[in-house]
């Protein structure tokens, strides 16, 4: 068992010392642990590198179904017994699926740690994949996807992905499509599971009121004989940007236009990520940014206006979002594009200093609870940020210069080659911007 131990002092007021431990079992399973004593609670995450980018073509939604099926019965317990076991003691256990990972997330009082680990091991290692449960789940997921057909936010999210990523594996949301989920078979689920849910493709995170030694003993007992198998790697394909501005309108009889504008962006591992992050803070953070000030504060066009980067292992995207009265859609789009050009052309040293100040001061707020700490430790492992990440955060942010932020704006923002998705009661001719090629 490999052990790495890092002592972390939180900034900026150094009164909390947090120790993150990273242990690796012989079969490759990684456990990250942080002991904490605020409340008698334990927060857990289990991540398996088997997210929706691994869905085979035509089987979109498979990873999500596999994740949910982990909780739908094991070789020892029925689906109902699994949820009863955890909920009867006031605990929580749920499945998740994102683009890169599927997994389980849980929380219990410290007295129920052994139960949580038992259930986790059963669900990950011995799911029963019972046919009746599988068919029931499929029906629930298909109905759930269809129920979102009336939600302009859900439609925007789904259709923007399609527009930006075209035929790339990131083009679909983890939940998949109603048609592809309906086509899935129990053997699809079993095959995906056997290829992907493996110890050296998995890491666990535990934060809270336990001792590391007793937890590792428990994990060794429940996971130590989980057989290591080679995980077949798929060569990453990078998503391709569009060569000119393209637009699509999804017709919906509503009073506002739900506007999403963006393009392919950086994935994990981009060396200039901190510069991009600070740059986007100035461009599109809520409350004081180029987009917010122009769209909301100066023109009163929208309740909310912001931009963000969404990153994955295989790429990512940049997006700005505004919802405005449909008659003001053109002005909103032009205003957002203007803000993007402004951040590219006239970023000031004072702006960068402002962003640095904010992130440095804000950092303790991002790890002030067990659940936030669990999310951050998970992200450290996912991105390979290093166990000293928390300790180094201030340096990473503090080293970003005006030149680096400006370079990130030029590198990662494309105000001439973007994808524009509008959900609303509009036609392309209502958007008075000539350079857009409208798609059906």
């Amino acid at each position: 068992m490999k052990r790495i131990r890092i002592m972390i002092l939180l900034i900026p007021v150094l009164c909390l010392a947090t120790v993150i431990e990273r242990d690796t079992l012989r079969n490759g399973l990684v456990a990250l642990t942080v002991e904490a004593r605020r409340i008698p609670v334990i927060e857990m995450r289990a991540y398996v590198r088997a997210g929706s980018v691994y869905d085979p073509a035509g089987r979109e939604g498979l990873a999500n179904i596999v994740a949910e099926m982990l909780l739908r019965g094991t070789q020892n317990r029925s689906a109902q017994e699994v949820v009863e076991s955890i909920e009867s003691v006031g605990g929580m256990l749920s499945a998740f699926c994102d683009e890169d990972y599927i997994g389980l997330s849980g929380k219990v009082l410290n007295k129920d740690l052994a139960l949580l680990v038992d259930l986790l091991a059963e669900c990950l290692r011995r799911p029963s994949f019972e046919t009746a449960e599988f068919e029931r789940l499929k029906s629930e997921v298909v109905s759930g996807i269809r129920a979102k057909a009336d939600d302009p936010v859900a439609i925007s999210t789904r259709e923007f992905r399609r527009l930006v990523f075209q035929d790339h594996r990131l083009a679909h949301l983890p939940e998949g499509h109603d048609t592809t989920v309906a086509m899935l078979t129990a053997s699809d689920v079993r095959e995906f599971y056997s290829r992907k849910i493996l110890p050296d493709n998995t890491f666990l995170v535990f934060i809270g009121d336990f001792t590391r030694d007793s937890l590792l003993k428990l994990l060794g007992g429940r996971f130590g004989d989980w057989e290591r198998k080679e995980v077949l790697a798929i060569e990453p394909e990078r998503p391709q940007p569009v060569s000119q501005a393209v637009g699509r309108i999804v017709p919906m009889k509503i009073s506002q236009a739900y506007i999403t504008l963006g393009h392919v962006g950086p994935g994990y591992g981009a060396p200039d990520w901190f510069a991009a992050r600070l740059m986007n803070y100035m461009l599109g953070s809520r409350s004081r940014s180029y987009i917010w000030d122009r769209v909301r504060e100066e023109k009163g066009l929208a309740y909310d206006a912001y931009s963000y980067f969404k990153r994955f292992h295989w790429g990512g995207y940049f997006a700005a979002e505004v919802q405005t009265k449909k008659e003001m859609a053109t002005e909103a789009v032009v205003t957002v594009l203007g803000a993007i050009r402004q951040v590219q052309d006239s970023l000031r040293a004072a702006d960068v200093a402002r962003a640095r100040n904010f992130y440095t001061g804000y950092f303790p707020l991002t790890i002030d609870s067990y659940s936030k700490m669990a999310d951050l430790v998970s992200q450290v492992e996912i991105e390979g940020l290093g166990l000293n990440y928390i300790d180094r955060f201030e340096d990473y942010v503090g080293q970003v210069s005006l030149e680096q932020a400006a370079a990130a704006a030029r590198e990662y923002l494309c105000p001439d080659r973007y994808c524009l998705l509008i959900v609303g009661d509009l036609q392309p001719e209502d958007i008075a911007i000539d350079s857009i090629e409208w798609l059906e």
Binding site: V41, G90, A147, K253, F363
Partner: protein, 426 residues
């Protein structure tokens, strides 16, 4: 039962230090030294409940304008100072409260106190800022209208309550938002924002004494004045109400509302345990029976909302593809009616109590959350001490209590049923 006892041991009562300044400002301090962070909150005793007809939404609009400059600070100054300090700030309006808060490092939380004291005394509400901000709020309202369920829930409140102010939307009716003038807003501000009508909550890495001194320094000299509030009572509902709400949707939905009790009523505890049994978690009755076994719903949830003057027990369900709303409604009534005649099992009761008690422990992972709840209990629920009492009382709910409240409140005459349906073809 052993489990319940163990859980009760796990729960440490929330310890809050309470102070009151001479001007009537209540101060609640919750110490939590886990992280070097402090949440500073001010809860005003004003919300949609207090608004006169014709000015609905004025409390929420005021909340927006409260970030738009004071005599001392320009329109952007609040955000500039919070941001420079690496803080996270926001505000919200509810039926009975308007809340402003900022979370900051422990060495700088006084910034928020200073800004809030200035906001309490010297808000400008400049016409130049007011006009675009009103447009922003109108866009916020349009967002709600475009949400597939937003206007449906608004209709549900309008039908369920006949005269009570809780029937009005917190954001206000569009015509009222348009109508509200700058002077209306300023008058509303002067009427409601003063120390005697507010509670300051400080939660996090501070000592009570230090927090008290800081609040006194910033607020001690502001004059306080008690604001009267009319206690409205909704007349008992005498007959089922039903309505259809047509909208351009593809998926229909069902909502059922029962009037219950205000937050300080003794039946709250049994109603809350009952709501846990029906729909909390994947092992709940609705999830197991209506979603999984019968395959009638994508989701079927219960929300027991307790307010200062009334309570609402709401069921909301979305049918699975091909399921008729009437069939879904029938199944939900059946499930609720079983509670009136068949005692819940000891295991179900234990589980619901365990879930409630465990959630009490989980909630203590966030001083911001503890502070928000303390403010809520203080203003709406007879004092923050009831927060601890609540969990003690939950532990003593029994099968008979569940059956009694089910029979009392889940009657046909006391319910309102709403169907969200696609627009009919001409």
């Amino acid at each position: 039962m052993l489990n319940i006892v163990m859980l009760m041991i796990c729960i440490q009562p929330v310890e809050i230090q309470e102070f009151t300044l001479d001007n009537g400002l209540k101060i609640l301090v919750y110490e939590d030294h886990f992280a070097p962070v402090v949440s500073t909150q001010i809860h005003y005793r004003v919300g949609a409940y207090n608004e006169p007809l014709g000015l609905t939404g004025i409390s929420h609009l005021l909340e927006h304008m409260a970030f738009k400059g004071t005599k001392k600070y320009g329109a952007q100054e609040y955000w500039r100072r919070i941001e420079e300090a690496g803080g996270m700030a926001n505000a919200y309006t509810s039926a009975n409260r308007t809340v402003y808060f900022a979370n900051l490092g422990k060495d700088r939380y006084e910034i928020e106190l200073e800004l809030e004291a200035e906001r309490m005394q010297n808000l400008l509400i400049a016409e130049a800022e007011f006009i675009p901000e009103k447009q922003v709020v109108m866009e916020e309202r349009r967002l709600r209208e475009n949400d597939p369920y937003g206007s449906f829930f608004e209709q549900l409140d309008l039908v369920s309550y006949s005269i009570h102010p809780y029937r009005r939307p917190i954001i206000g009716f569009m015509a009222d938002i348009e109508r509200i003038s700058r002077d209306d807003l300023y008058q509303w501000y002067r009427q409601h924002y003063n120390p005697a009508n507010a509670v300051v909550v400080i939660a996090g890495d501070v000592t009570a004494e230090e927090a008290y001194r800081a609040v006194r320094k910033h607020f001690g000299k502001i004059k306080g004045r008690t604001v009267d509030e009319i206690p409205y009572e909704e007349p008992a509902q005498r007959g089922e109400r039903r309505f259809e709400y047509r909208k351009e949707v593809r998926t229909s939905a069902l909502a059922i509302h029962y009037h219950t009790v205000n937050i300080v009523h003794e039946d709250v505890y049994a109603l809350d345990v009952l709501s846990m049994i029906l729909s909390y978690g994947l092992s709940s009755r609705f999830e197991q029976d209506i979603v999984r076994e019968q395959g009638l719903a994508v989701t079927a949830n219960v929300y027991h909302m307790k307010y200062k003057y009334a309570g609402s027990f709401l069921v909301f369900a979305i049918p699975q593809s091909g399921v008729k709303l009437a069939d879904l409604e029938h199944a939900i009534h059946e499930s609720i009616d079983r509670l009136k005649t068949i005692p819940v099992s000891a295991a179900e009761l234990d589980k619901a109590r365990n879930q409630t008690l465990a959630s009490a422990v989980y909630q203590q992972d966030s001083p911001t959350g503890v502070g928000m709840r303390a403010g809520w209990w203080e203003i709406e629920a007879g004092g923050w001490r009831n927060m601890n009492r609540y969990f003690e009382e939950i532990g003593s709910v029994n099968e008979g209590d569940i059956m009694r409240v089910a029979r009392t409140y889940f009657t046909r005459d006391n319910r309102t049923v709403g169907y969200l349906l696609p627009e009919e073809e001409e």
